[in-house]
Amino acid sequence: MKRTVLACIAIGTSSAAVAQTLPVTADAVFTFNGQEITISRSATLPADSFDVVSRAYSDCPAPCLSPMIVASGVATFGELDVIEFMSGPVEDGDGLLIDARLPADRQAGGFIPASVNIPSATVAPENPYRDEIFLALGVEQFQGIFSFDAALSLVVFDDGPATQDAPTFITDMVDAGYPPEKISYYRGGMQVWTTLGLTTQKGGQ
């Protein structure tokens, strides 16, 4: 069986903030892995990312519209919540912003700064190495029993309301015992993030 690798893609250098005429409310500045990251609203969407994120739809059945609530007890986040999460738990090392898409999607259209890539398939019950991902998220294991007390808070996103990577990731995690109150769903995903002109990043590994 092919081993699925936990690809925690570290963040590259933060891009310098451009002319900031369009504040979110105010720019959010925080550090992640020693890098200072600024989230602002840009005047224009980079042309090379536009094609990917402005596609109005993807094929169904796999990616269909997601409901507002994807799992009981899992909060749905808006952009302001995501930004607050980044400058709070993420910066403090208590939380992770997770991009549940495939690495190729992340490369093609860019991603939210300070997010790490954990494709949804890697937390599917079929992945025999899933336990290692749990350990990396702060889950403790003793004689085959998991304790999620010290596990990180997670905010999970994907391409947007019409894709199922994040909902699948979240339902698999909840089914595995991850506490729903430690997981939140950023439903708007890349589609809404970019149509608001918020900072994105490209490249990395």
């Binding site: 224009t44 596609r55 739809y57 269909c64 507002m68 302001l80 708007g188 809404v192 608001l196």
Partner: protein, 211 residues
């Protein structure tokens, strides 16, 4: 002086028959059908998998203020809707005549494109300064009681939207309604608005007069 703007005329398109459905609403649902005032509406998704946004809703960076990002929840007990919840609401509350989908934008914006089955109540008409506001509230089912107050127990459920996540038309309308005494549990907020609706290729209607 603010004048009442006539609420709402909906124009409709005849529901087009769905053909092969590669782009469905959910795995088990390819269209949403509902009726308002005896007229049947059908919402589907554009079947062109290469379609991209056009026009107004491709804009990313409207100036803030006034177009600032709205929170996911407006608080005070108002529930936030996504697209599936809006369609379910249209199929049940609106079809049953106990709810309205309210477009809080200006009549000009509403005329260009709007969600099928919605009615136009510009947020400004719900402001306390509008002396015709009680008439609007009565039209929504509020009843005058002694002492100049209003009883909203029989008032309609409302789901309110505007241009998108960056628009405060809908939040303003909701705030005005709550200040007027409208019960928060009867109000819902479709935060994604026209931009999110069109971004996933859902049907819209246009009542713009070409003349």
């Amino acid at each position: 002086m603010i004048r009442t703007i006539a609420t709402a005329t909906c124009i409709l398109a005849a529901g087009t028959m769905a053909q092969a459905q590669d782009v469905r609403i959910t795995t088990f649902k390819s269209e949403s059908t509902f009726s308002l005032n005896g007229i049947t509406f059908t919402v589907t998704r554009d079947q062109n998998t290469n379609a991209v946004l056009q026009g107004e809703f491709t804009r990313t960076s409207r100036a803030c203020p006034p177009h600032c990002l709205q929170p996911i929840s407006l608080g005070s007990g108002v529930e936030t809707f996504g697209e599936l919840e809006v369609m379910s609401y249209l199929e049940t509350s609106v079809s049953d005549g106990i709810g309205l989908l309210v477009d809080a934008r200006s009549p000009q914006e509403f005329a260009i494109s709007a969600i099928p089955g919605s009615v136009n109540v510009p947020f400004i008409t719900l402001a306390a300064e509008n002396r015709f506001r009680p008439d609007i509230l009565r039209a929504l089912g509020a009843v005058d009681v002694a002492g100049g107050a209003m009883d909203f127990s029989g008032a309609m459920d409302l789901a309110v939207y505007s241009g998108g996540v960056w628009s405060n038309d809908a939040p303003m309308a909701i705030q005005n309604l709550i200040e007027a005494g409208y019960p928060a549990e009867k109000i819902h907020y479709y935060r994604g608005g026209m931009q999110a609706w069109t971004h996933v290729g859902l049907s819209t209607i246009s009542s713009a007069n070409p003349g």
